[in-house]
């Protein structure tokens, strides 16, 4: 019996790094990285059993420092990259490294080990991303649907492209670009576009969003003043080439067509504080997930700008009579955008939301107090979209 109730898992520490295990497409798995200054930091591998609605976890030690960002390889289930803080008395440096997890934890298993609470295993360090010359690493992006050999990291105002060689034991800087300008420019986040043969990335710095070509390491477009305040996160529409979403500290989520950067295509203003994350659903790009420091996760339905604006999904009941007519006559009337649901299971700021790479209807959200909540898209909507 499937019910839509959320499932909550609590880490004992603060956490803000969350990622689905990208290469794993059968089992629902998420990785969470902790942020603690006094204890050994950990990576929790969360295995969600959707039939029984239970969570199994495995813990990996990440002793080098608190984790600010975590991402997994799209090709190899056992490989992941983290950005962590190396602290000394006088300085804090955010570094990045590539790791491999133990073999037996790579794939999902629904049986948790008997001595799960004390069974913490260690990560095997594959390589560091050397950033002595560049600055603090903000995030590490893997080439989407690639072979796991190419990664890009953002360090202060630099974009660094790395080649992972010798089965990821060595990272060689293959190309880089730097953002010129006055003042201390710093990238806050970036995203690799799955389109154009994976040759484009978008970065956010201050209030601007910039697009880059990775082959030439040149800027392609720049959305100035994308948000009134800092831009926190970006995501590309998986089905529509030129569309991307951005969210920021002005509490808004904006959708852009990169071919016309003067005006956002749509603006969402549902949150009441900074929006930290925006995520498109991997298959159905009308579903947008956003997490904010107002402790809420909002699932929105942006049909009008999705790849199926006249699709057979209907939001308002009034339109259901016209449904068949719409399909047959192809009347150019996009359907209504709306907020599907607001999830309020968190009591602290939500810093990360991610869709599962195995089940397109399931997502996880992480708040600062270490609470991981797994939720689903409401069933009625799911059937609407499918049918």
């Amino acid at each position: 019996m499937e019910d839509d109730a959320p499932v909550i898992y609590g880490l004992e520490f603060q956490a803000r790094a969350l990622t689905p295990q990208t290469a794993e497409t059968d089992a629902i798995r998420f990785l969470v990285g902790t942020q603690s200054l006094r204890y050994d930091n950990q990576i929790h591998i969360i295995d969600f059993d959707d039939e029984n609605n239970i969570i199994n976890k495995n813990v990996l030690l990440h002793q080098v420092g608190e984790i600010w960002h975590i991402s997994t390889s799209p090709a190899d289930k056992g490989v992941l990259a983290t950005c962590y803080n190396k602290t000394s008395d006088t300085k804090v440096m955010t570094c990045a490294a590539v790791w491999r997890m133990p073999k037996e934890l790579e794939s999902g298993s629904h049986e948790s080990p008997d001595d799960s609470s004390s069974n913490t295993q260690t990560l095997e360090l594959l390589c560091h991303l050397d950033n002595t010359a560049h600055g603090n690493m903000a995030c590490v992006m893997w080439e989407p649907m690639g072979d796991g050999k190419k990664i890009i990291s953002l360090a202060d105002n630099n974009i660094l492209m790395w080649d992972l060689q010798e089965s990821s034991a060595k990272a060689v800087l293959s190309s880089s670009a730097a953002l010129e300008g006055k003042g201390q420019l710093k990238f806050t986040s970036g995203r690799w576009s799955p389109h154009h043969n994976c040759t484009q990335i978008a970065t956010a710095n201050d209030t601007a969003v910039r697009g880059w070509d990775t082959r030439s390491m040149r800027q392609i477009y720049c959305i100035e003043n994308a948000h009134g305040q800092l831009v926190r996160d970006l995501d590309f529409n998986p089905n529509k080439q030129y569309y991307l979403a951005s969210c920021g500290d002005d509490c808004k989520v904006k959708f852009w067509d990169t071919r016309n950067v003067t005006e956002p295509v749509k603006t969402l203003e549902e949150h009441s504080h900074w929006v930290w994350n925006v995520r498109y659903n991997h298959s159905h790009d009308q579903l947008i997930l956003t997490g904010s420091s107002d402790s809420r996760v909002i699932l929105s339905n942006m049909v009008s700008i999705s790849s199926e604006p006249f699709g057979h999904m209907v939001d308002d009941d009034e339109l259901s009579d016209q449904e068949d007519q719409h399909q047959e006559e192809k009347i150019k009337e996009p359907l209504q955008d709306s907020v599907i649901a607001t999830y309020e299971e968190h009591e602290d700021s939500v810093y990360a939301v991610e869709w599962s790479s195995a089940d397109p209807w399931l997502f996880a959200s992480l708040s600062y107090d270490g609470r991981l909540v797994i939720n689903r898209v409401p069933r009625a909507l799911k059937y609407h979209i499918l049918l």
Partner: protein
């Protein structure tokens, strides 16, 4: 000399011209001028004939040549006779030529007359054709002229009336319209004119309102000479509201002209019912109120970030209060006034109920107030954010005073409090506990926790602090950052403070602090708590947020050793 003339005439007649003699012998017809000619040329001969029948008078009608010749032979000498004959001959010739001339002339005249008549005949044929055309054209023109004048009569009458020539003169218009056979058309024309008028009034009202807003903005933005107070917001609001209301009333009075009792077409059923409701109430009053709400709301919804100058916060506040006043009283006042002057009919078309308009006004007011809170909150938050981001928290020295930015924050919030207080009432605040202002700002939020924490963490109990802080959260009220703002001062201020402190929290969480960094946060937090609690509707809100800031700062600290509380107080008092 009549005698000579008579003699010469006789002479010529007797011996002058042989043919004359022959003629004279032939018949007396030539010698005696005939009827019409005689009548024309010689009225004197008639007189002469009546004078004396003298046979010797050459010019007389009873002229006898034998008698004349006898008389002349016997009386005159030869020489005289010869002279007489010559003279007579001359006269005869002269007369002859005269007569010929006369004849010639007469003939000429006759010929030219004939020509003329012939010509006239031809010309008249043309003219006849043209006259026919002219007649047809004239007929057409007169027909159109009749139509135009019929149509214009109505307008002219109405125009003259509206220009104030007095309605009384045109009381006959109705009958005239009827008599013209276009009663419905006439009514339709009037109705259309009335609607157009009402539309124009509506647009004029809108322009007026925008003008007033421009004045308000200017007044707010005008640079003030130092020492002089700027225009008070209540004054600006009062002026704005009064002008708009006054203008609306004036417009209603103008529109009344259409429905005044002594106006003839006011009795048309259109004006009695539909005009009042559709055009005036709905089309003018309701439409204006709706437009006003929309326009006010536009200041909050409008695209303010992309370089366009945003509305000053004072304006947002002013408009929020205006909309609120409209919802509270003005709308019902206006609607009542409208209904009095333009009584609606029971069976008329649907009207917008007053409460619906009030709801719109309230929604606009709410949106404006929310936006005000957002804007002001963002301004204060930006200060806090910059202060946290730019400071070196690891290497900072032991805190000696409160950071300047905190003092500025308190000043700004005080100023906002004053500004909001000008337009909104105070609101209800939760009763403070007696030691509220002296509440210890503890890094560990000890006020609610079951026990006092040990100042240092022990590795053997890694879960305690986290567990305890979670338990804490269960007991404390969850602070909702954006509960809807209510229309009173403390609610607005609380909203602004919540945004600012939440930002402070988020920024602190992104940094790593050293021991002294934590202590500085401690000092700043205490200072904020000392001065901000009185602005909030519930001091626990401020307390709770600052507690979270402290807790997060402690978590982010490499060496969490808090400062002694007495020292903290000392520093704050000094600052």
């Amino acid at each position: 000399m009549a005698a000579v003339t008579a003699g010469s005439g006789a002479g010529s007649g007797a011996a002058g011209s042989p043919e004359a003699a022959g003629g004279s012998s032939g018949g007396g017809g030539w010698r005696r001028p005939h009827g019409p000619l005689q009548r024309y040329y010689g009225p004197a001969t008639a007189e002469a004939a009546e004078a004396a029948p003298d046979p010797t008078d050459i010019n007389g009608p009873h002229f006898d040549p034998e008698a004349f010749m006898t008389k002349v032979r016997s009386e005159c000498p030869l020489g005289q006779l010869l002279a007489r004959e010559a003279a007579l001959g001359r006269e005869i010739r002269a007369l002859d030529s005269d007569m010929q001339t006369l004849l010639y002339e007469n003939y000429n005249k006759f010929i030219s007359a004939t020509d003329t008549i012939r010509k006239m005949k031809v010309d008249f044929r043309h003219m006849e054709a043209e006259m026919d055309d002219l007649a047809a054209n004239m007929a057409a023109i007169s027909a159109s002229s009749a139509r135009v004048s019929a149509a214009l009569q109505e307008r002219h009458r109405r125009g003259a009336q509206l220009a104030g020539t007095g309605p009384g003169r045109f009381t006959g218009a109705d009958q005239w319209g009827v008599s013209r056979g276009g009663a419905d058309a006439a009514a339709e024309l009037v109705a259309r004119a009335a609607r157009e008028r009402v539309d124009r009034y509506l647009r004029a009202l809108q322009t007026f309102f925008l003008g007033c807003l421009g004045d308000v903005r200017q007044a707010l933005a005008a640079p003030r000479p130092p020492g002089k107070e700027g225009p008070g917001l209540p004054d600006l609001l009062a002026t704005l509201a009064a002008s708009v209301l006054g203008q609306l009333k004036a417009v209603l009075a103008y529109v009344q002209l259409f429905t005044a009792r002594d106006v003839a077409f006011a009795s048309l059923p259109y004006f009695k019912g539909e005009f009042c409701v559709t055009a005036v109430r709905e089309g003018l009053v309701v439409a204006f109120v709706r437009w006003l709400c929309r326009t006010a709301r536009g200041f909050a919804d409008g695209p303010a970030e992309r370089g366009a100058p945003a509305a000053p916060p004072a304006l947002l506040l002013l408009l929020a209060r205006l909309c609120l006043d409209y919802e509270n009283s003005t709308i019902s006042y206006i609607l009542t006034l409208t209904d009095e002057q333009f009584p609606p009919q029971d069976s008329g078309p649907a009207v917008t109920p007053g409460p619906a308009l009030c709801a719109e006004a309230r929604a606009a007011a709410q949106r404006l107030l929310d936006h005000y809170v957002q804007v002001q909150g963002a301004a204060v938050a930006q200060m806090l954010r910059k202060s946290v981001e730019t400071r070196d928290w690891l290497g900072t020295v032991e805190p000696r005073n409160v950071r300047a930015v905190m003092k500025r924050v308190v000043e700004d919030i005080t100023a906002i409090d004053v500004q909001v207080g000008q337009l909104f009432e105070e609101g209800v605040r939760r009763a403070q506990s007696s030691d509220s202002s002296r509440r210890a700002f503890s890094v560990y939020s000890s006020s609610r926790a079951p026990g006092r924490y040990a100042p240092s963490y022990t590795p053997s109990a890694p879960m305690d602090t986290h567990l305890l802080s979670n338990i804490q959260k269960l007991f404390s009220e969850r602070i909702d950052i954006f509960s809807p703002v209510e229309f009173n001062k403390v609610s607005v201020l609380t909203g602004i403070i919540k945004i600012s402190l939440k930002t402070l929290l988020e920024c602190v969480r992104l940094r790593t602090l050293g021991r002294f960094g934590l202590q500085q946060v401690q000092v700043d937090g205490h200072y904020l708590q000392l001065y901000l609690w009185r602005f909030a509707s519930d001091e626990r809100v401020v307390q709770g947020l600052l507690d979270e800031v402290a807790a997060s700062a402690a978590h982010r600290c490499l060496d969490p050793v808090p400062m002694e509380h007495s020292v903290v107080e000392l520093i704050c008092e000094r600052g």
